[in-house]
Structures are given as C-alpha cells and as structure tokens.
C-alpha cells in the first residue's frame, strides 16, 4: 500500500476544519446582522409610540 498518495486526504482534513470554522463565523455574522435589523425595527416602533 503506497502511503504517499494520501497526502491530499491530509490536506482535505485540515482544509475541512478551517471551512467548518469559517462557516460558523459566517453564520454567526448573519445572525448578528439579523439582530441589528430587528433592533432598528424595535427602535422605530418605540419612536412611533413616543410620538403617537
């Protein structure tokens, strides 16, 4: 069994680890974006309430 040909598998494993972490950061980032939009919305509601 020639072992060396498996180099790309090693690379795949480490790449995968990074991809998962990156994906995680991206998902969290989109959550923060959603939260910001919601907060703006709520701020709008409160202002409307204050004026009304």
């Amino acid at each position: 069994m020639i072992r060396e040909t498996y180099v790309h598998y090693v690379a795949a494993v480490y790449a995968l680890a990074w991809i998962v972490t990156l994906a995680y950061v991206v998902i969290l980032n989109s959550k923060l974006g959603r939260l910001e939009r919601e907060l703006d919305e709520i701020a709008g509601l409160l202002e409307a309430k204050a004026d009304g």
Binding site: M1, R3, E4, Y6, V7, Y9, V10, A12, V13, Y14, L16, A17, V20, T21, Y24, L28, K31, L32, L35, E38, L39, I42, L45, L46, K49
Partner: protein, 235 residues
C-alpha cells in the same frame, strides 16, 4: 446600565479567541514541520493530530452540556438551559467533523471509507445518533421551562449511554467485524505526544471561544425578543 457580566464575558470570549489564534498556528506548525513521519503510515498519519483532538473536544462538549443539564435540574436556573444547549449544539458540529475526518483516517489507515473494526468510530457513531435525537426532542417541544427540563433529562441519559456504548462496541467486536484486527494504539514518542497535546489544546480553546460567542448570540436573541414584546406593548 451596562450589565457587568456581559462585559466580563466579552473579555472572556475575546481572550479565548486570542488564545486559539495563538495556539492553532503553533499546533499547525508543529504538525506539518516539526513532528517526524509516522514509521508505519508516513505523512498521512498527520490526520491523527486533528481527527482525535476533534473527537475528544466533541466528548468534552457533550460532557459540559450534560453537566449544565444536571445543574439545571438541580437548581432550576433557566439560564443553565442555554448553557447546556450551546455545548450540545457545538458538540454536534464537532461530531460531524469527527465522523468526516474519521472516514478520511479510515481511508488512510485501512483503505476503506468506514472501518468497522475501529471501536472509536463505532462508539462515536452511537453517541452521534444520540445527540441528533437530543435535537429532535428539543425542536418538538415548545420553548420554555418544560423544554429545558426534558432536554436536560435526555442529555443526562447520554451520560449513561456513553460508557455503555463503549463497552457494547468492545464486547460486540466479534459481531461487528468478524476478523479481529489489533488496533495499533497511539504509541507516540516525545515529539508526537507534544504535538498531539498542542493540537488538542488548540482545538479545545477553539471550542471554548465558539461556545462563548454563541452563548452571547443566544442571549442577544432573548433580549431582542423581550424588547420586541415590550415595544409592541404585549405583556
């Protein structure tokens, strides 16, 4: 009024991320440049330095989730429910990573995509199925005190399942994989062990950083929903 605990957690989350940022490159450097090739498997044995730490981190996350679940049942403090759910959630992410890297590891070591002879892989499969079931339960009960209680009970059942599965897989080896194949243990000399421990430390600190960040995200979610309810004037 700035809530002091979130400020403190902010620092902890940042410093956990910083520790990871330091440890990870060091570990990678060691894995690829410092540690010698494994006598038996040569270069590709280096998958080991990521696959096993990820698996260990998964178990650590599940244990952490179960611990918080037990504390929740004992104290009834609802914030513990979140601190039990987030590690479980991360555990499944790391678990998926373990299974995938595990199949790579099997391909490298034994030439098949899934090596039934390896007790670790099989045990991990059972535990992984269990935690998918945990999420099924969590999604089928409405949020609230009852969901927290039921999730905690099931998380604790996992604590019973892990040793039982390890034992079952060992005992059932003759059934799972008739030709017994001695698993070569991790005979690691000094440099390998050091690299392995560094990789493990890096992986664990990554998990802690992700845990703290996600926890903060979930807390923001709750505060935003509460704000929304107040803004819309519904009690």
């Amino acid at each position: 009024m700035r809530d002091r605990t979130t400020a403190a957690r902010l620092d902890r989350a940042t410093c956990a991320a910083l520790v990871t940022a330091v440890l990870m490159p060091v570990a990678l450097g060691l894995i690829f440049f410092y540690v010698p090739n494994d006598a038996d498997q040569g270069f590709s044995q280096r998958i080991f330095y990521f696959h096993v730490p990820i698996a260990m981190t998964t178990y650590a996350l599940f244990a952490w989730g179960a611990l918080n679940a037990a504390r929740y049942l004992w104290t009834g403090d609802l914030s513990l429910d979140l601190r039990s759910y987030v590690p479980m959630h991360l555990g499944v992410i790391f678990g998926t990573l373990t299974l995938v890297t595990g199949s790579f590891w099997a391909k490298v070591s034994w030439g098949t995509w899934w090596y039934w002879g390896s007790t670790e892989l099989n045990t991990f499969l059972i535990i992984f199925l269990f935690y998918c079931a945990y999420f099924m339960l969590r999604f089928s009960v409405d949020p609230g005190e009852k969901r927290a209680r039921y999730s905690a009970v099931y998380a604790l059942l996992g604590v019973g399942l892990i040793p039982i599965s390890v034992l079952a897989v060992h005992l059932g080896q003759d059934v799972i994989h008739p030709i017994t194949f001695t698993d070569h243990g991790a005979q690691m000399d000094g440099s390998m062990l050091f690299t392995f421990l560094m990789a493990l430390a890096a992986m664990l600190s990554l998990a802690v950083a992700m845990y703290l960040v996600e926890l903060r995200g979930k807390r923001l979610d709750e505060q935003v929903t509460r704000l929304r309810r107040l803004a819309e004037g519904t009690r």
